[in-house]
Symmetry: C2
Subunit: 439 residues, 2 copies
């Protein structure tokens, strides 16, 4: 299926106009970045890169797309001919998926002719804004959960395809499993889930429901004990399954109090190894508030798939440099006090002191051909990798392996954060962004 | 492409357990409803029904799905055999797409065997929660915009497939166009868009950019005049295009002030029919604040596709009635003070007085076979229609025609709302929900 129509109309009208006036072929640099971190977050998490590269493979205008553009008179015949043969032949450097970002981080740098690069705006932003918003919220939840397993179960609160992408972004940011089957199949994420309240309500008694579940899924299963009365639910669960029951799930009530009561009851019944999973409207703050409670695992729904109050990451895709009619490079940016952009091609490094991040160092070149190779920053880690080289997509970021690699990268680079970055309250970014002009 | 894996794992584990203990075939009624209106909204807007019905056609477990379920030991062999032949053969009654809803409105009533109906939970909720959240926000914006055209241009702030669904939901709720090409093709929504700041920045001067755009798109186009200095941008625009220029677009600045200045300048230049479109971070409140300003059209991005602060509608899918082992109907509901559910099969009516809605009247039957036909409510409009009849999907809700019909239905039923429903501030629902027990 083509991804080429996941695009705003104005990209194609600009392309058509540029073919007409000859600017279509101007070598151009677009940058995808965020002016600020939404919601006073202390760091952002890049996610979506692997999905974007897979979608880029299918960014081709087929017969159906061309017919619509012709019938609706979106572009002229010259543009139709160009689009018929379009594939992205430029290059993309960018932050690795799972990497942290800060205001002004050049998350993607897209280089190519204006026509080649302008049409990727919507697709790149759609994928990265959504996935990064989810991953940023998820990483905070994962930090709050500590060593306890954390499952994503928000599919019912997100559009059906976003749900799959959200499961992946949450996994990259430290979640351990998802309820979503498609995310399991597509990205190799462990799937989980046993029963809903409807299971208990279907049966003539809670006991019958528990017995049938244990018969089908074994005593290692997790029984949902809050359909009627939690105390009686726990009692019934252990009577049916025995003290070897895998777990009980609580989906309502004042969790710190209820969890303590249920733990005590389970221990009294001898079910000392039966685990407690809680799943009622959790977000990073509720998870943190349960840190001292006898909870063994968390399930998070709405708040993670909606970015915990910030469902989009606020990234933009801007032209930052292009050649002029004489072939000289010109750094460009909109003049606006409220919408700050910095023109020029960037190279990005995370400056470390004793292994701890102290600055996002970004060197800016107005019109050079050479990218800063980092030799001048021996105390810094280079943040950009080549994702697409003259149209050749690096396949290592896609599929099961790419998803797992992004997760491992995230968990590793998160260790570089200063302690103050881990607090949940609203604040400034954990490290400053420092621009260095190298021209 | 199969939609069957857009599903939470627990639905299939319940299905497998129910096949094992014989409850799979129990006639069951599931209801999709919302306990409250998110964000103190005064009404909700149902959207997604047409998309859900189209996805339901493809809800089949193919070889790939069955292989994953077997390899991952999600379900046993008996369940695999059941799923191999699964298609939904039950019935669904529901609110028409575009209809308003209130707390407790039975938006969808899904009837079938437990096994048939339980597996639709995630898909139904994903689609309706997302699309209704967008439509509810969009309807408020459309009311605030009055007769002025309102375009959805938020694709870059939503995951790539949600963006298409969001464009559709916004259109149903009164928006007039979208920037998203796929939404234009799939749903027949008018598309719009001309140029971004990158277009101006690509050129060696703003004048060259405007001239090229007018050459390509004609003088009826809309020029983006705020890349550098707005006053000079407007001057250049009219010099290049003449006083017949279609429009100018403002994407930054203090809009009420800037719009007034630009209108005055355009009029002074003789461009009295040139329209002003504004697009800078608008939501329903900003649109309302511009009501007295000389603005001709609005473009809305982030806020509409993210539900203006409430990106999911909070709908749930609950078992409300089922037969017991003796074949008698039993109304069921979870016992919970915080999560109120009302068991029983429902019929829903909007009670009107002189054409104005005064109550959401819902009759509840514990275990009856007959649905309330409305004869007892002569002053009320029946809200439910048959969407799926014993597996036969009513095709009239899908495609271009279904989308347009939903929009027309919405604009018509919105007229029934009392005036207080149109205010934007947080409040109680505009009309009360009244439950009537008919057994």
């Amino acid at each position: 299926m083509s991804s080429a129509f996941l695009t705003d109309r104005y990209e194609l009208t600009m392309l058509a106009a540029s073919l007409r006036d000859g600017t279509a072929s101007r070598p151009s640099v677009f940058e995808l970045f965020s002016r600020r971190l939404s919601g006073g977050r202390r760091f952002g998490v890049v996610a979506g890169t692997g999905r974007l590269l897979a979608l880029l493979r299918d960014f081709r205008f087929g017969e159906e797309e061309l017919r619509f553009l012709r019938d609706e008179a979106v572009v002229d015949a010259e543009a139709l001919r160009y689009l018929e043969h379009y594939r992205f032949t430029g290059s993309i450097r960018g932050y690795r998926e799972g990497e942290l970002y800060f205001p002004g981080s050049p998350i993607l740098t897209v280089e190519g002719s204006f026509a080649d690069a302008v049409v990727l705006e919507t697709l790149a932003l759609s994928v990265l804004n959504h996935d990064s918003a989810v991953a940023t919220a998820a990483s905070r939840m994962s930090i709050a959960a500590g060593e306890r397993p954390l499952a994503e179960m928000g599919s019912r609160r997100a559009a059906e395809q976003s749900a799959v992408a959200a499961a992946r972004a949450a996994y990259i940011a430290g979640f351990s499993a998802t309820s979503n089957l498609e995310a399991g199949r597509l990205w190799g994420i462990p799937t989980m889930g046993t029963a809903a309240h409807s299971w208990t309500l279907l049966h003539d008694s809670e006991e019958e429901a528990f017995r049938a579940q244990v018969d089908s899924l074994g005593i290692d299963t997790t029984l949902l004990v809050d359909t009627y009365d939690i105390r009686r639910g726990v009692e019934t669960a252990i009577r049916v399954a025995g003290t070897g029951l895998g777990g009980v799930r609580l989906d309502s009530g004042d969790l710190p109090i209820v969890a303590a009561e249920v733990r005590e009851q389970l221990d009294e019944l001898g079910a000392t190894s039966t685990k407690i999973t809680v799943t009622s409207d959790l977000d990073e703050y509720a998870i943190a508030a349960l840190a001292a409670s006898p909870v063994d695992a968390y399930g998070v729904g709405t708040s993670v798939v909606t970015g915990s109050g910030y469902p989009t990451a606020g990234m933009v895709y801007k032209l930052v440099a292009r050649q002029d009619a004489t072939g000289s490079w010109v750094a460009v940016a909109k003049a606006s006090a409220e919408k700050v952009s910095k023109g020029g091609r960037k190279a990005a490094f995370r400056t470390l002191a004793n292994g701890t991040a102290i600055a996002e160092t970004i060197s800016v070149a107005d019109g050079f051909e050479q990218v800063d190779d980092g030799a001048a920053h021996p105390d810094a880690r280079a943040l950009q990798v080549v994702l697409v080289d003259h149209g050749e997509i690096d396949g290592s970021h896609e599929g099961h392996a790419g998803t797992l690699a992004a997760r491992e990268h995230h968990l590793q680079v998160r260790e570089e954060l200063p302690v103050r970055a881990l607090a949940l309250s609203k604040s400034d970014p954990a490290i400053p962004t420092v621009f260095i002009d190298v021209d």
